[in-house]
């Protein structure tokens, strides 16, 4: 089969934007474009795989939960869909500071996929086509359309690549190797060559997934049951908290043991990773069980989470035991785990290799530097994870539209959101493995909390046009309540009366010797806004659907004021360098005194701002001073 064998014909439907791929990045990209008024077609190798979750059955998690909330605040879809389709939800790190609280929900995979597909299907100006795109058509380095495997040419002005793990995909376990995408879906084997012809530099990455097993074959009595939170907090700021208080499914915890590890060690030479059959670079944060056993040899056991794939299926996911060992070893290995002694595998664990790009070829708007109108998002950009993909897809979609409108792109910086950190890292730093978000990557994480994503981004989403007037008004109302409540607490003083002292005693807090404002009491570590309600007689009533959020914000803002201020000051300084833009046509060779290494790196990456330049490895603080002086002189 060659695509050239198919006769070429021209599709006459009008499209502004073509999105290639309908995974988590593609869905957000396509929805954003269509919602912003542009005619959009989204291509997928299979309509049944729209918004597919081919690996873990959850959305969110540490720092990923932040991303989902940011996507939601900007007007994306992921948060709304998971709120409708989750079957268990937990706020992680609840005992830690608010910056690292993170929502994670178990999804009903099939339901998630179906609900998202419906949203796409019902979206005006958005068409879905089951076709493999094989060619990006350009004229003078400018996008003019795409060509499909069956020969159809679709003219458009912008293309967004969201091919995920499908490009030249290969799935491997043991000696078995199949040229398919995830879950045995058809791989996209031709597009890579077209991209290479356009001068795009490709990488080959690798990732993996554990086996899916039959619930009937599991002995849950040997495992610890893991419940969801008693009170569930929704992902989307638009979801009424009462709507997510559902009956939740359980997950199950069990452990590997020495027997498991011995089986793995004895069969290592049969792993395609160790035999050299897999060339792609795998992620360190999501190691296969064989990696863990080799690298952390002194660990006696590893945790294994058994998670449902949905309510209407018996398939369960074995979290913590992804693998590319041969089928027989997989059976033997899983069956050493307590509760899995008689386990039946439904789908094998496998490793998957795929083509992706060196994202340093992209501008921070996610448009290719060298090809006008070509954007990309998601795993294709060298990231990993559904949430990272959705965030990029949304930004790529927004910026494709702004490009067509002749407007400047939206670039969130590292102080505005995890999305900013994610994209800046991707387009600035070289990475040799799929990039995963982590809270430790965010230098201003006290400001980038999941609870204040709306405060950081709703206004931006509103200005872009993805947040409705009604939602924006509601947000403004919430902010007014928060501000005036903090103001009130600063001016309400409590005295040394017995009722107050008793409450303080109950919480182990120092007794009062004189009057003090409620605000100061809230800031005591052992107290909080909610426990003080007993002695706060004038506390106002808040609208029911906003109550939780308002109270949380008042508490956090007062409690962590000092730390928040410190980070705000750092951000002020950071912004100065971010706002010093570098002209597109700068000739680094003519900047005297830059070190040769710096000139090479700067010419290769062409950063948009001094701030971005300062994050390139190989560019020193002295080089930045030189650039500042050079640009100062040019003004």
């Amino acid at each position: 089969m060659k695509f050239s064998a198919n006769s070429v014909w021209e599709n006459k439907d009008y499209y502004d934007v073509a999105v290639i791929g309908a995974g988590h990045a593609g869905c957000e990209a396509a929805l954003a474009c269509a919602r912003l008024g542009f005619h959009t077609v989204v291509f997928t190798v299979s309509v049944d795989s729209i918004a597919l979750m081919p690996c873990n059955p959850n959305i969110g998690g540490s720092s990923k939960g932040h991303l989902v909330r940011e996507v939601d605040a900007l007007g994306g879809e992921m948060g709304k869909v998971i709120d409708k389709t989750f079957i268990q939800s937990k706020m992680l790190n609840k005992s830690k500071g608010p910056a690292v609280h993170s929502l994670r929900a178990q999804a009903d995979k099939a339901n998630y996929s179906r609900v998202m597909r419906q949203v796409l299907e019902n979206q005006e100006r958005l068409d879905i086509r089951q076709q493999e795109v094989v060619h990006i058509l350009t004229e003078n380095q400018k996008v003019t359309g795409v060509q499909t495997f069956s020969g159809g040419i679709y003219s458009c002005k912008a293309v967004i690549l969201c091919t995920g793990t499908y490009l030249k995909a290969r799935c491997i376990y043991g000696e078995v190797s199949m040229n398919t995408g995830p879950n045995g879906l058809q791989a996209a084997n031709y597009l890579t060559d077209s991209l290479k012809q356009l001068g795009i530099k490709m990488y080959r990455f690798k990732t993996g997934t554990p086996a899916r097993i039959d619930k009937k074959s599991i002995d849950f009595s040997k495992m610890e049951e893991q419940f969801g939170d008693e009170r569930v907090i929704p992902f989307s700021f638009t979801t009424n908290p009462e709507d997510v208080q559902i009956e939740q499914a359980s997950c199950w915890l069990t452990y590997t043991n020495e027997d498991t590890h011995n089986i793995i060690r004895n069969n290592l030479e049969r792993s395609p990773l160790f035999s050299g059959m897999i060339e792609g670079t795998g992620p360190r944060y999501c190691p296969s069980i064989e990696d863990k056993v080799v690298k952390f040899a002194d660990k006696e056991r590893h945790q294994v989470f058994i998670e449902p794939e949905g309510l209407e299926t018996n398939e369960m996911y074995i979290g913590g035991m992804s693998s590319s060992l041969p089928e027989d070893v997989q059976y033997a290995m899983y069956r050493t785990v307590p509760g899995l002694e008689n386990v039946k595998i439904v789908r094998n664990a496998y490793a998957i290799e795929y083509d992706c790009i060196d994202a340093r070829q992209l501008k921070p708007t996610l448009e290719f530097k060298t090809i006008d109108g070509l954007f990309s998002g998601g795993q294709f950009n060298g990231s990993s994870g559904y949430e990272e993909a959705a965030a990029q897809g949304l930004i790529a979609g927004i910026n494709a539209v702004r490009k067509l409108k002749g407007m400047d792109g939206i670039i969130l910086d590292r102080s505005e959101g995890y999305i900013g950190v994610l994209i800046d890292d991707l387009v600035t730093k070289e990475s040799h493995e799929p990039y995963r978000m982590m809270t430790s990557r965010a230098e201003y994480r006290l400001l980038l909390r999941q609870d204040n994503a709306d405060q950081r981004l709703t206004k931006i989403g509103y200005d872009i046009g993805l947040i409705s007037e009604e939602r924006y008004e509601r947000f403004i109302t919430k902010m007014k309540y928060i501000d005036s409540e903090i103001e009130r607490l600063s001016h309400v003083y409590v005295g040394t009366g017995e009722e107050v002292q008793k409450l303080l005693r109950n919480y182990g807090s120092t007794a009062l010797v004189s009057g003090i404002s409620l605000r100061e009491l809230v800031s005591r570590p052992e107290l909080s806004y909610s426990v003080l309600s007993e002695i706060d007689e004038e506390r106002p009533e808040f609208p029911q659907d906003l109550k939780d959020e308002i109270e949380e914000q008042v508490n956090i803002r007062i409690k962590y004021e000092g730390y928040i201020h410190r980070q705000l000051r750092q951000v002020e300084h950071f912004k100065k360098l971010e706002n010093k833009l570098i002209p597109d046509d700068i000739d680094y060779d003519s900047v005297k005194s830059l070190r040769i290494e710096a000139v090479q790196k700067l010419k290769e990456l062409r950063p948009v701002s001094i701030g971005q330049a300062s994050r390139i490895s190989g560019v020193s603080p002295a080089d930045i001073s030189v650039l500042l002086v050079y640009l100062g002189g040019k003004e």
């Binding site: 690292v100 690298k295 913590g320 730390y563 001073s625 500042l628």
Partner: protein, 471 residues
């Protein structure tokens, strides 16, 4: 990467450190006058803040009630100053040690040590330097920076650098542990970790305090231009040193290889401080002890500000000399043709030719060559004059920078200490563990700035390499 704010008030010694006795400490920035007032005691307790611009005041620099030096203080209010900002210049009289002391007091009172070229950079950014001079400014920033980095690395070779790396490693490990637990709370728990961390912190703060104390002792502070005398055995190195100091301190014999270790002399050459090191002769040798001396000589040469290289003009050049000629490429140097009292076998042209042959990519020869006789004293005066000229024309590095580098180190150590103290405070306040990492990483960065290392991907790499993450 860590950037210093352009709003800070900065200070540095703005004259080359010499023995002329006068040295100027310059302070520039919004708080220059305020800071000067904290350390200056004038007649009738007059305050600098209430004085007019471009005036000079007589008085004392006082530290905790002790008079440090008798000084003249010049006030220049912005924008009519070199940097365009409020500027104070303190003219000190008490010599090198006192100038350094005054700078330290100024910094303790709120200024931060200036970065290399920072006064010039500010002058430019504030429009005080003409646009046509911009390129020169850029050169100053880059070259001073390289110099400062070089000298700081030189000083840090050895134990201090190891100590700092060691402390950083421990900080990184602790942070990575906390972060991995936050990233994967279902696999790794940090509950109750604070008490454990406190013990580590106490130990680390102790280590840092020790380093701060040693910096205060001035142990790492070197004064003067580091000068190394190089040459084959028996070319007359020790004789030259004796001629310069005027006494027979170095062992001078006719047996090649007698100066086996490094002799050091501090001399003053018409107002300039020189630390002269006489070294073992450089030649290939099988004698173990002599080889140690030779290696030391080469190391000292690499760290020096100036190399005086002596060639015996009565014997033809050989391969030992060719090696030394390569050493000269990177350094400011002077070549001496010694034994001009004997029959000459080497001419200046021979040196030029061999220098160019043995240094690839070097197209011109611009090292002063002087004919001398260390024995008779002929040419010694010309040598002194050459060194003076190089110094005053700025060809030999301004040694004050080394001191500033040290001041920066000390400041960074103090910042690291404070950051760790903040972690202690957070633990005592029962703050959640994620707050610890913020200050831990600040300490990590401060220490990194001393040894020229930034954070980069260190934390993420440490998390993945030390802790087993889930999925």
């Amino acid at each position: 990467m860590f950037y210093k704010s352009e709003k800070d008030t900065i200070a540095a010694i703005s004259t080359a450190v010499s023995d002329s006795g006068i040295g100027i400490v310059r302070i520039s920035g919004e708080k220059a006058i305020e800071i000067a007032d904290k350390v200056y005691l004038g007649k009738n307790n007059k305050r600098l803040i209430s004085q007019r611009t471009h005036t000079i005041h007589y008085g004392y620099i006082v530290d905790n009630g002790t008079i440090i030096d008798e000084v003249l203080v010049m006030i220049m209010k912005g924008p009519k100053s070199f940097t365009g900002e409020d500027t104070i210049e303190i003219n000190c009289h008490g010599g090198v040690y006192v100038v350094n002391r005054v700078l330290e007091i100024v910094i303790r009172n709120g200024a931060r040590p200036a970065e290399p070229g920072e006064f010039t950079k500010r002058a430019f950014l504030n429009g005080r330097i003409d646009l046509s001079q911009a390129e020169a400014v850029i050169d100053v920033i880059q070259s001073e920076n390289e110099y400062a980095l070089q000298s700081s690395v030189n000083q840090l070779r050895g134990s201090i650098k190891n100590k700092i790396s060691d402390v950083r490693k421990k900080i990184l490990y602790q942070t990575a542990f906390i972060e991995s637990a936050l990233d994967d709370p279902e696999h790794i728990s940090v509950d109750g970790y604070g008490e454990q961390l406190k013990e580590v912190l106490l130990e680390l703060m102790g280590e840092i305090q020790k380093m701060i104390d040693s910096a205060s002792d001035g142990k790492v502070i070197k004064e003067g231009i580091q000068t190394v005398i190089l040459g084959k055995p028996n070319v007359g190195k020790s004789s030259l040193l004796n001629a310069l100091i005027g006494e027979d301190r170095a062992i001078v014999t006719d047996i090649a290889g007698t100066t086996r270790d490094v002799l050091q002399e501090h001399i003053r050459l018409k107002g300039i401080s020189l630390n002269i090191m006489d070294t073992a002769g450089i030649r290939k040798t099988d004698d173990v002890i002599e080889k140690i001396g030779v290696d030391k000589a080469i190391n000292h040469a690499k760290e020096s500000d100036l190399i005086i290289y002596i060639v015996d003009s009565s014997i033809p050049l050989d391969s030992n000399e060719f090696n030394t000629l390569q050493l000269l490429k990177e350094k400011k140097s002077i070549i001496l043709l010694n034994k001009s009292d004997l029959t000459s076998a080497v001419q200046i042209d021979d040196i030029v030719t061999e220098y160019l042959v043995h240094n690839d990519n070097v197209e011109e020869f611009n090292i002063p060559v002087i004919e001398i006789s260390a024995k008779t004293g002929q040419g010694i005066e010309e040598l002194e004059q050459t060194i003076r000229d190089m110094f005053y024309h700025g060809k030999i590095s301004f040694n004050s920078e080394i001191y500033i580098t040290n001041m920066r180190h000390k400041k960074a150590l103090m910042q690291a200490y404070e950051s760790l103290a903040k972690v202690m405070q957070s633990i005592d306040l029962m703050m959640p563990e994620d707050f610890y990492s913020i200050d831990l990483m600040d300490a990590y960065e401060s220490l990194g700035s001393i040894i020229g290392e930034s954070m980069g991907e260190d934390l993420v790499n440490e998390i993945f390499s030390k802790f087993c993450m889930g999925k």
